[in-house]
């Protein structure tokens, strides 16, 4: 790596003699994801990009699961504190977070969500 007369190296960072340059780091990003691991349509991964998404069997659901075990509008996912929160939309069969029936929950990486006969794994983004 050639050094210029004023001490700049090819990376563009000013360096004193014997000093290691600070190198720019490429930031890896990954979206929040809902991975369906069981039930109709699985396996499939949904990237969560919208602020609000509805999961259900309705044709206009953002994440549509073709099963009568799900209500038409079963669960809403909404942005919350930089992540997502899941809310049961008064579904018939409930929303189960890691086997606990919940009305709503702030989601964490690795959580499982069961809606009817569909099971999902939630992945936090970066």
């Amino acid at each position: 790596m050639a050094a210029t007369q004023d001490g700049n190296d090819e990376l563009g960072a000013l360096t004193a003699e014997n000093e290691i340059p600070v190198m720019p780091v490429q930031v890896i990003t990954r979206p929040y994801m809902l991975q369906q691991i069981r039930g109709p349509g699985s396996p499939i991964v949904y990237n969560l990009e919208a602020d609000v998404l509805v999961v259900g069997r309705a044709d206009d659901a953002d994440i549509r699961i073709g099963s009568t075990a799900l209500s038409r509008r079963h669960m809403r996912l909404e942005r919350y504190q930089g992540g997502y929160r899941a809310i049961d939309l008064d579904s018939s069969n409930g929303v189960y977070l890691n086997e606990v029936r919940v009305h709503s929950a702030v989601l964490r990486d690795g959580d499982t969500l069961q809606l009817g006969n569909a099971v999902f794994l939630f992945h936090e983004g970066k």
């Binding site: 977070l97 086997e99 606990v100 009305h103 702030v106």
Partner: protein, 295 residues
């Protein structure tokens, strides 16, 4: 809908932020219990700060809430000075003592907001904060909810609260060393699998609860080193819930040294115990950010 119960802080003793506790949370005790017409807040640990932020986010309508404190140890009151709705003049908060003339909770909450401890004085809170009580019998109908209290075993005393409405019942019972009240406190060590005999009065207080939120801070092994510290074995809470015919129990007030994995192992032990008794009881770990509907 009878009740919506949301956990804002589930940790005991001291807040424990960090990677190892991010699933179940590191905020100290705070539970929100709502009906269509009323708002109850059980304890004001650090979780109360985030509850306050959320209450303000829900809208501009005046907030009226009933505050029930189990006791005044730091981890149950340290969130109050940061409870933003208490600084807004349109809001009203009622702090309940357990009997007529009991203003301890109000006094101690205001006491922690003096210049030696905190830069904002209690008198600077703009909301209306009053001291009231549950009456001579420790029971009072509040906005359609029958609220009762029960004295518990804890250094300096603590109180459990039951809330009943439309045939549904939620019990909040934290900081209670049930193990010291057993008919035979040595039985869990001599015969760990044997059912533990819990005082009948407490069983009746919890009888038939749809949701019991109870201090299950310790594993059996941890409890041996922490006997007398004011908290229970999680497994003893299972016995209580089974004997009281409780539908589901949230093990609460997790020890600050317990990681998420430790909490999960603790719950697994509790579930095995309930199954061994042939009980349909459902056991889960109280977790920050989770809301349960009781209807």
């Amino acid at each position: 809908m009878a009740f919506l119960v949301r956990f804002w802080g589930t940790r005991g003793s001291i807040p424990t932020p960090g990677r190892a506790t991010c699933r179940y949370g590191g905020n100290t005790s705070c539970v929100e219990i709502r009906t269509d017409d009323s708002l109850f807040i059980c304890d004001g640990g650090t979780g109360l700060r985030e509850l306050g932020v959320d209450l303000l986010r829900r809208g501009n309508t005046p907030i009226s809430a009933h505050l029930l404190f189990s006791h005044m140890h730091w981890d149950h009151i340290q969130g109050f000075p940061f409870f933003a709705p208490a600084y807004r003049p349109q809001n009203r908060f009622h702090i309940y003592g357990t009997h007529p003339g009991d203003t301890r909770f109000h006094s101690l909450l205001s006491g922690q907001m003096r210049s030696a401890y905190f830069p904002v004085d209690f008198s600077e809170l703009n909301a209306h904060v009053d001291a009231t009580d549950l009456g001579a019998d420790g029971a009072r109908l509040i906005e359609g909810v029958m609220v009762r209290c029960f004295e518990q075993k804890h250094p300096g005393l603590s109180y459990a609260y039951s809330l009943e409405r439309n045939g549904r019942k939620v019990v909040y019972a934290t900081d209670n060393e049930i193990d010291l009240t057993l008919a035979d406190p040595t039985l869990p060590v001599r015969e760990p699998n044997a059912p533990r005999v819990i005082p009948g009065k407490f069983i009746e207080f919890c009888r038939g609860a749809d949701l019991l939120i109870a201090d299950g801070q310790y594993t059996d092994a941890e409890y041996l080193k922490c006997t007398g510290w004011g908290h229970a074995r999680a497994t003893t809470v299972v016995d209580l819930a089974v004997q009281a015919g409780v539908r589901q129990v949230a093990i609460y007030h997790h020890d600050p040294m317990q990681s998420d994995r430790d909490v999960e192992n603790k719950i697994e032990t509790c579930r095995l115990r309930a199954a061994r008794f042939g009980s349909p009881l459902f056991v889960f770990a109280a977790r920050e950010g989770v809301e349960i509907k009781v209807d």
